[in-house]
Amino acid sequence: MRRYILSVVITATLFIIVGCKPKAEVPGQFVEADAEAQIYPDYKDIVVPPNIAPLNFIVRDSSATAYVAQLQGGGQELLAAAAEDGIVQMDSTQWRALLTATKSSNISVSIYAKRPDGWVRFKAYRISVAEEPIDAFLSYRLIEPGYELYRQLGIYQRNITNFDEVPVYENNREYADGENHCINCHNYRMGSTESMLFHVRANHGGTIIVQDGKAHKIQLKDSTIITSGVYPSWHPTENLVAFSTNKTGQAFHLYYPEKLEVMDEKSDLLLYDVTKNEVSHIIRTTDDMETFPCWAPDGRTLYYCSAKRNYLLNMSLPDSLVTQQLLLKYDSIRYNLLSIPFDPKTRSFGQPKLEVDAVAENKSISVPRLSPDGRYILYTKGDYGQFHIWHRSSDLWVKDLQTDSCYALTEANSPDVDSFHSWSSNSRWFVFSSRRMDGNYTRPFIAYFDKTGHAHKPFVLPQEDPEWNILQLKSYNVPELSRDAVRISEHDLRQCIYETEGENATYKPNPTAIVRLDGTTGASPRKAVDGTSGASPKKPE
């Protein structure tokens, strides 16, 4: 008897579930609509990699009660249906088959909507499938958009060929004052997770270096170093990391389209030798602020951004007022793009070279990233400052190192923020952060970068439930592509963060470092000056 009742209940439940789900079949009769379907996110006329997860979307129509999406190409057909909510979710296996069949060609998407007076078919749109795949993994930090306090945050890795997301590391989920910490600036060496790092701030602070699946914590501290390591870049061949070291602050606008301004008071560049646990300056200056280092793929050039600041300051005022002074002139701080040659064998640096003179055109550059083929520098250009993730004027630009020409990636840019970017290892794709969806919450957008050096219309990272783009109350921060998954467990990272103090890196001056401590405001040089570098070495412990 019980079994009978149970089977009736299960059957009824299944019947209800199946009954509620619309049938995915092309309607026999329909009329052609003049307009295109309104879909969210905008996946119309885009180029996608052949290994991307299904581009699920929402159809918006004020009167329709059911929808059918028909995707065709390469002799394959995929049908997906949606109820009144318009949420179209595609079968992963069929989607994969469709992408495989349409590689280097197009998918035609027709959408049918069931309105009170019958079915209509909207104008079809196209999705082009590129030949080249994108790196399969995307790491990002999920965090509320740009505010001062921090609580529950983590670095996550998403397999973008499907919808799997795993935490790389999450901070303390339950509040504990003695444990609360921030994590940021995750970074991989040339798209491989074999070498990775990220910073831990506040409690349990330090820089976590992961190599060969093992994590260790280091402290980049010295009286000559402004703070500790901030923006990192792994050297492609040597076991080195270039860091910027920044004294950063932020201020919140009262009545302005931009919400906040993050600015440096001072910054320098550091070189950290992972094997020897030694740190040295690359550039240490008081007038210039250097930041966002990035190695060329051959490891022989380091690109970075630099701004002059002393001309903005009244040098007669005390050091304690530097922040206030810079704050009043925040929109006059502008960064150029420079490079400095590096000899990996001798670990020596040459003389800096101006790569892009943005200041001359009253613009400012940040986040240079070299394409893995070494031909292009992708960077963000805005009206001022360096934290373009909060500047609506920010757009993506490239410099073609072969032709020495710079141009905007017009197809990829939007009127809102377009900033932090990461290349796929085949140089044909890049991911970047954009606030174009709502002006506040960054979402990762993927753009195809063709062989002629032009970007195509980008699309937002697909989600299993497309509505998640709206409902997710956190920003996707610092998207970083990688070919492989992170090789260390969250447990091991937690153990390293909580149970180790962090080994102090030995400061060892680099004789070829550029040191100019000529200003009266800013970093105070130590009294005992070590010949050429202006920094005194710490005794090895």
Binding site: P145, Y150, C182, F252, E261
Partner: protein
């Protein structure tokens, strides 16, 4: 099985009670239903406003992805269930009913599981009464850090455990189950009365403690409730009825109501503004004077939309989303014409039970700046928005005070009046005098007139520039003469003098808010902050 047990012969004691039952039954009262009624009254009528605000400071949607910030915490599922139950407090009588049912059922099960004899049956009510006492003891803390899942979560867990325990006992025991709704026939009238006495005494103690040690909790919550309903008259009435009670959330609500009704320069000092300490504990992120309860709203109604949004986001980072923050952020997004952002927050709110009315009211305003500007509350706020951009960091906190102290150029007369009132509130007379220029030749509002007369000392002749001051001069002179004996110990006499000079600015100038005058303001800086 159960039929068999009923047929079993009764024990002598039961027989004795049963024998006398017709006479005694008339004198027996149904204790549990009475307890249920009392609990319901407490949970809905007495403390309903506190639970209602707890719901506003909470957040629950069925979507577990959005609730991940709760589910990932220890016992996340129980917090999730607790938050779901709290949603019923959108209607305090309904939420109170659920709570009363849970507490009453828990009490009954406690008695059953502990196999309490009638003479010890009072004990069964103690866990529920202890819970009510703990809730009262915590006061504002029950929602301050949005740990609101515990409000229903704890009784739910207790009830669950008792249910399981009860089922186990029932599986092995044939004893009759004590009455749940009817007359407890196994009790003597004395036992019956003792139970009622214990319940009555405990409830009286709980309410007495609340009135004695936490009198501000219900008032603050009622004020916040009215603020969310834009009941400006109600706020003023309630605040004035509790004029001697002094705390910053109440002062802020009152000031908001006055600003919204254009009476800030007439009635601000009708309540005491000395700020007694509140029993409140945060996550140790340097809460100042329960600032989380009023800074986002204070900034919003002061015209500082960006800063309100900023404050909302900071709180959201610390506590996760709450209904109150999301609603305020919808309004901020509308005021800033960030339509997609407003859509986003509305989409989340649409999933929160019982928030349909809010969504229905504000959804049509998306992409309709004319509707935004026509909404009375928003139209009033528009009048005091800053004209020029600057940074929050340049002002003392809270911003709605700090900015108005430095105001150089205002959008309207309202902005000027707000600024003058803040100068007077902070007793910074030079700044007050500097801003009087636009009022020259007019009859200023009463508080400003009093301020001008007080400024006369250091600015001789200033009052000649305004009309209507002569009528108030004798009052000031009388006040100053009367106050002479008290001037040597102003802090000591402030409280006793308040009823006499309620609403009179010179009293505040000399006797009010003396702690703040010494300490100044503090910012919301925290060790858990940084550039993110």
């Amino acid at each position: 099985m159960s039929k068999k047990s009923i047929k079993q012969p009764q024990k002598p004691a039961q027989q004795k009670v049963a024998a006398a039952s017709p006479k005694r039954e008339k004198r027996l009262l149904p204790v549990l239903p009475i307890f249920f009624l009392f609990t319901w009254l407490w949970a809905a009528w007495y403390y309903g406003s506190v639970f209602y605000i707890s719901r506003e400071y909470s957040f629950w949607v069925a979507d577990t992805r959005i609730m991940e910030f709760v589910l990932c915490q220890p016992y996340g599922i129980l917090r999730y269930i607790g938050r779901a139950m709290l949603q019923l407090y959108h209607f305090p009588w309904l939420g109170g009913l659920l709570m009363a049912l849970m507490l009453s059922a828990g009490s009954w099960l406690t008695g059953y599981c502990m196999r309490l004899r009638p003479s010890w049956r009072s004990i069964q009510y103690l866990p529920a009464l202890v819970y009510m006492a703990v809730v009262t003891w915590h006061g504002l803390d029950i929602f301050y850090e949005a740990r609101t899942g515990l409000i229903f979560g704890i009784p739910f867990v207790a009830l669950l455990v008792l249910c399981i325990w009860g089922i186990i006992i029932r599986s092995f025991s044939r004893k009759p189950v004590p009455a749940f709704i009817g007359i407890p026939r196994d009790e003597t009238p004395r036992q019956n009365r003792i139970q009622l006495l214990v319940i009555a005494l405990c409830l009286a103690a709980i309410i007495g403690f609340d009135q004695w040690q936490r009198p501000y909790v219900r008032v603050i919550c009622q004020l916040l409730d009215m603020e969310y309903r834009q009941d400006w008259a109600g706020i003023q009435k309630l605040a004035r009825a509790n004029a001697k009670m002094s705390n910053r959330p109440m002062a802020c609500s009152y000031a908001i109501a006055l600003v919204q009704t254009g009476q800030i320069a007439e009635r601000l000092y009708d309540i005491r503004l000395d700020y007694d300490s509140l029993h409140i504990n945060g996550m140790d992120w340097k809460h100042n004077n329960a600032s989380c309860l009023y800074v986002p709203e204070g900034n919003y109604y002061g015209g500082f939309i960006e800063s309100s949004q900023h404050a909302c986001m900071e709180q959201m980072v610390m506590t996760g989303p709450t209904i109150r923050l999301l609603k305020l952020m919808v309004k901020c997004a509308l005021m800033r014409e960030e339509w997609e952002l407003a859509d986003k927050y509305l989409a989340v709110l649409r999933r929160v039970p019982f928030e349909g009315d809010f969504v229905k009211k504000y959804e049509p305003m998306v992409r309709r700046v004319d509707l935004v500007n026509a909404e009375p509350e928003m139209a009033m706020i528009r009048l005091t928005e800053p004209i020029h951009d600057s940074f929050e960091n340049q002002y003392q906190q809270p911003l709605f005070m700090g900015y108005n102290l430095m105001l150089v150029e205002g959008r309207s007369q309202n902005a000027l009046i707000n600024s003058l009132c803040v100068c007077l509130y902070t007793k910074l007379m030079p700044q007050f005098v500097e801003r009087l220029e636009p009022l020259v030749g007019t009859t200023p509002p009463s508080i400003i007139m009093d301020g001008i007369m007080l400024a006369e000392n250091k600015n001789p002749g200033i009052s000649k520039n305004f009309t209507g001051l002569n009528f108030r001069k004798p009052q000031l002179q009388t006040f100053l003469e009367n106050m002479r004996p008290y001037m040597s110990d102003r802090a000591g006499h402030a409280y006793e003098l308040f009823p006499r000079y309620k609403g009179y600015y010179p009293y505040y100038y000399f006797f009010g808010n003396l702690k703040a005058t010494k300490k100044g303001y503090t910012s919301l800086s925290s060790s858990n902050s940084g550039v993110n």
